[in-house]
């Protein structure tokens, strides 16, 4: 804690560079350079393709780049780029349907045709730019008459069988085919036969299919095979008769199935819960972050009036790439159900009755009178944001209460003063750089499906994956090494060898692992410390809730399963999974009428993550802002504002009145909050931090999540998630 405060001071004085240097100095080691791996893994990101400046003629081209001319404009791209990537780097728009940067190249829509020219002359026919590697000395022409005619021909073929049902299609207004038909489509076709019709497929309660609209780009098939890892989708039949489907009646059993909706360039795969609700231009987009797991996936919340109508992913290569989980995408209907929208207090007969805000706050203040701080307890919940967590902690501390804890903080976290003991240290994008991955007592498929897709990507590139704990299907092959540590080298010699040689091993530890398990894991790397790259910390703790890391940063501890006997006043900040014994006066501040609110004596209605400006810290320690998309329902207010008002009524007014004030208080407590959207610098592995203990011989480590679709108050209130649960159970 001392060192982090020193860092915060330095940060204010010198800015980010100074901080990096200071941290390096403090740690006594050079910082692990992220640039190396970034170059290897994101060679096609926009930053790596630069256009030479005309004024600077002497600028030398790096060895890994090559030059080409697109429509008369010179552009530099990495060697091995495709023609399309060169056009993208030059800012020339190439129409496309089947190409997607995150999927393999299929080259079957033929919409991206361009002309190529070299010293031998023009290409004999237009070339599909997505599938054509850029050769030295090639000039690209995208605006010739031949290209235009060719694309018009392709478009006419695509529109032959595509129904003219845009007015009743959910994709209308955001449809690639619609947009590109505006450029390359004709106002009439020459086709005189009957249009093809295709049987709709049942892909479950989340993805709606209208297969007649399909143009066979096969993005969904490639996605299912390459990213989601459920090989259920395929192309059956051939030619004009081919259709996309599962052939047999089968759901797409993936936690990432919703992403096919974004991938589909037409209206063949659309969202079932969102069907026929709104047009894209009626919606107000708000950039936010997801709270359904601890990854902090970047999302866009589309709302109209007082309702969130859908949630889409936002690209962030360092966190979620292009994907979000089904829970993040479809749980939004839970924001409309079971909401607490008026303050309530227990009246006669111990029944909660709606009251005015003043009455509710006074009731709390009265209950607190004469209660000593030691008899109070404050618990943060799974979805609590940092602003409200700090307000709750400040209030509790002012009342003399030191029992400030957060639910769903794993028992494996020993020492919240050292950030690196509870963070996903290599960062999420570090998964791409890891050369061996070991999982201990975690199931990323249900705890963080988007991370699971990233690990799968590493596995496909040949990274060995070991698993200690329950042997679950993670959509990719793993080497099962036993139910719990110690990791015996005899069980799988190949994996142990890989671990011995690893320069950048990554051990994914479930947050609920026993401290003894954590100690075993640390011992594993203590032996191999020499081989590990400088500045690389293999410990990656995978938390399950959006609030956990923020709470730990702010000094919260791990909450027990039940409140200890003898507590007289208990604050629950959206904490629903803590049992409160009889006799305690419970103040519930939260947005859903779940278990916690049922037990409460006073209910103070608060805002959900879509209704407030809030900060969440993800499992790698990256603070991100969720933004207000809609207003909280009824009389509900922002959580920290409620606590601020309560503090005044209780006579211990908190020293901040606006969001800026709360956020500067956050920065005071932890420098993390100064650097929004940034993951912490790589933290060098500092050696074992856990006390050794005994791990039961028959222990099988497993995740605590039983049902992926219903883990928090929002998803439990969601109809879509209930249907998904049911569908999965019936499969």
């Amino acid at each position: 804690m001392e060192s982090s405060r020193a860092l915060a001071r330095l940060w204010r004085l010198t800015g980010p560079t100074g901080l990096t240097q200071a941290r390096a100095m403090l740690l006594g080691r050079p910082c692990w350079s992220q640039q190396q791996t970034q170059q290897q893994h994101n060679s096609f990101s926009s930053s790596s393709s630069s256009v030479p400046e005309e004024s600077d003629e002497e600028k030398k081209m790096p060895d890994h780049m090559m030059s080409t001319i697109v429509n008369g404009k010179e552009v530099w791209v990495p060697k091995g780029s495709s023609v399309m990537q060169a056009c993208d780097a030059a800012g020339v728009d190439i129409p496309r349907f089947c190409y997607h940067p995150k999927l393999s190249v299929a080259g079957n829509c033929r919409m991206c045709l361009v002309d190529l020219e070299n010293e031998r002359g023009m290409s004999p026919k237009p070339v599909a730019s997505c599938a054509m590697p850029l050769a030295p000395g090639t000039t690209i022409l995208t605006d010739t008459d031949r290209v235009k005619k060719a694309r018009e021909g392709v478009m006419e073929f695509l529109l032959l069988n595509h129904p003219l049902d845009c007015p009743i299609c959910d994709q209308g207004g955001e449809c690639d085919l619609q947009d590109q038909a505006m450029h390359y489509g004709s106002d009439r076709g020459r086709f005189v036969g009957q249009k093809r019709t295709v049987v709709d497929k049942n892909l479950g309660p989340l993805v709606k299919t209208v297969m007649t609209r399909c143009i066979h780009c096969t993005r969904c098939v490639r996605y299912a095979k390459e990213v989601a890892g459920v090989e259920d989708l395929g192309v059956t039949g051939r030619g004009g008769a081919s259709e996309i489907g599962t052939y047999v009646n089968k759901l797409m059993e993936s936690e990432l199935s919703g992403n096919v909706i974004d991938l589909c360039p037409v209206g063949a795969l659309t969202s079932k819960p969102y069907a026929f609700t709104a047009r894209q231009w009626e919606l107000k987009p708000t950039e936010s972050v997801d709270v359904s797991d601890a990854l902090g996936c970047n999302i866009r919340v589309d709302s109209r009036g007082t309702e969130v109508l859908r949630i889409l992913p936002r690209n962030n290569e360092e966190v979620n790439e292009d994907w979000i989980s089904d829970k993040a995408r479809f749980q939004y209907d839970g924001l409309q159900r079971q909401r607490l929208n008026v303050p309530m207090a227990k009246g006669a007969g111990s029944v909660l009755k709606p009251v005015k805000w003043e009455e509710a706050l006074t009731a709390v203040a009265e209950a607190a009178e004469g209660v000593s701080g030691e008899d109070m307890a404050a618990y943060g919940g799974k979805l609590a944001d940092c602003e409200s967590l700090i307000a709750l902690k400040d209030l509790a501390n002012r009342l003399g209460c030191e029992t400030v804890q957060c639910e769903d903080v794993g028992q494996g976290v020993p020492d919240a003063d050292l950030r690196s003991t509870y963070l996903f240290n290599p960062t999420l994008s570090g998964v791409d750089a890891a050369d061996v991955i070991l999982m201990v007592g975690t199931n990323p498929r249900v705890e963080a499906p988007v991370l699971n897709a990233r690990i799968r990507k590493a596995q496909l590139e040949g990274v060995p994956i070991g698993m200690l704990g329950e042997d679950v299907d993670l959509t990719y092959p793993t080497t099962h090494l036993g139910g719990a540590p110690p990791l015996s080298a005899k069980k799988n010699a190949d994996f142990s060898l890989a671990l011995d040689q690893a320069r950048r091993p990554l051990v994914l530890v479930g947050a609920n692992c026993d401290p003894a398990v954590m100690a075993e894991v640390e011992e594993l790397f203590e032996k191999r410390r020499e081989t590990i790259e400088d500045g690389w910390n293999p410990i990656s703790v995978l938390h399950q809730s959006a609030s956990t890391v923020g709470a730990l940063d702010l000094g919260y501890g791990a909450a027990p399963k039940a409140v200890p006997e003898g507590k007289k006043l208990v604050f629950l900040l959206g904490a629903d999974e803590i049992d409160v014994p009889e006799g305690a006066f419970v103040v519930y501040i939260g947005h859903h009428g779940d278990k916690g609110a049922c037990r409460a004596d006073v209910v103070l209605p608060a805002a959900a993550f879509t209704e407030k400006h809030a900060t969440y810290v993800n499992t790698e320690g990256r603070p991100q802002h969720a933004r207000r998309a809609i207003a909280p329902p009824g009389e509900a207010r922002d959580d920290w504002k409620i606590l601020r008002a309560l503090s005044e009524v209780m006579g211990h007014a908190l020293p901040y009145d606006d969001l800026r004030g709360v956020r500067s208080r956050l920065c005071e407590v932890s420098p993390t909050f100064e650097r929004i959207d940034e993951a912490p610098q790589k933290a060098t592995y500092l050696g074992p931090k856990h006390k050794k203990g005994k791990v039961g011989a028959k222990t099988v480590l497993r995740t605590t999540i039983e049902n992926f679709y219903q883990t928090d108050v929002i998803s439990r209130a969601s109809l879509a998630m209930a249907k998904a649960t049911q569908a999965r159970a019936n499969q």
């Binding site: 020459r190 090989e231 259920d232 489907g245 052939y247 047999v248």
Partner: protein
């Protein structure tokens, strides 16, 4: 006479072309009529399968075809499976999907049940959908119950011009069927249309897949230069369990001995080698002479 027939056929074909060509430019009404004349609506309402006897490219459970229908390779066939898999590297097992599906189909009396495809996927250690994709792509894999003899009439241009529609009609009338894709009530014959089977010289032709004798005795024979009478005769011989003459019904191979014209075998006229007369010998340039000329 034969020259006349060729010319007439050409004229008919040309007529059809002009008709088609003009209708593409004509107003919609004419085009629709043309499409209906081609029987497009009828064929399309039947579904969109790749071959003429499977109706859909998706699976529909039926009593004889579902994922619980028992299927496994027999011990003898398992040996063949091993032989097939030995041809491919361990990590490219799925390359064996076509030979294994063929084997499964032949063993399973001519068609692939869902359980048969699943078994193949299991042997190849590949997701089942990858096997379904292959089975639906190729016309020679059947996914619905077949007769013991699968009669396939070639319907591609040379055979069509030489009388394939008449052969189809004769077979339908004889077997009591109304169209391609149907099987006889006794489960002996299934009639299908196939695309060009490379026998254009001996058009028209039918191919017969014989599933009566299992994998060992499986045959897939061509019967070429057939008239309607020959076609009916072949089915009757098959019904009686006899072996019809394989290959051309009227000549030894594909020597210029004659042609099926208007449902009759017409031998090549005396003194000619082809329908159009005697072919010219190959033209060869006299290089030495040309070189001498160039020097001058």
């Amino acid at each position: 006479m034969i020259r006349g027939a060729v010319l007439r056929a050409a004229a008919v074909a040309a007529g059809a072309l002009t008709k088609g060509g003009s209708s593409a430019l004509a107003p919609l009404e004419g085009g629709q009529k043309y499409a209906q004349a081609l029987g497009a609506s009828k064929a399309w309402s039947r579904g969109y399968a790749t071959n003429s006897h499977d109706h859909f490219n998706i699976h529909r459970d039926s009593p004889e075809n579902n994922d619980t229908t028992p299927f496994d390779f027999t011990p003898e066939n398992m040996k063949i499976v091993k032989e097939v898999l030995a041809r491919y590297p361990e990590n490219y097992k799925r390359s064996g999907v076509i030979p294994l599906l063929t084997l499964a189909q032949t063993q399973n009396k001519g068609f692939l049940t869902l359980s048969a495809m699943n078994r193949v996927a299991e042997v190849l250690e590949t997701p089942a959908i990858r096997v379904y994709e292959v089975a639906t792509f190729y016309t020679m894999f059947n996914r619905s119950k077949m007769g013991k003899y699968h009669l396939m009439v070639c319907g591609t241009t040379p055979c069509m011009v030489r009388g394939a529609p008449k052969v189809k009609q004769a077979l339908c009338d004889h077997l009591g069927l109304s169209d391609y894709g149907e099987s006889t009530a006794d489960g002996l014959f299934t009639l299908s249309e196939m695309e060009c089977m490379g026998c254009c010289v001996n058009a028209p032709m039918i191919a017969v897949a014989d599933y009566t004798k299992g994998v060992e005795g499986f045959t897939y024979n061509y019967y070429e230069d057939i008239t309607t009478k020959d076609a009916v005769n072949i089915t009757e011989q098959l019904r009686r369990g006899e072996t019809p003459k394989v290959g051309s019904q009227h000549r030894s191979k594909c020597e210029p001995a004659g042609v099926v014209y208007e449902d009759k075998w017409v031998p090549t006229p005396e003194g000619t080698e082809t329908l159009m007369g005697t072919p010219r010998g190959p033209y060869c340039r006299e290089l030495k002479k040309e070189a001498a000329e160039q020097k001058q």
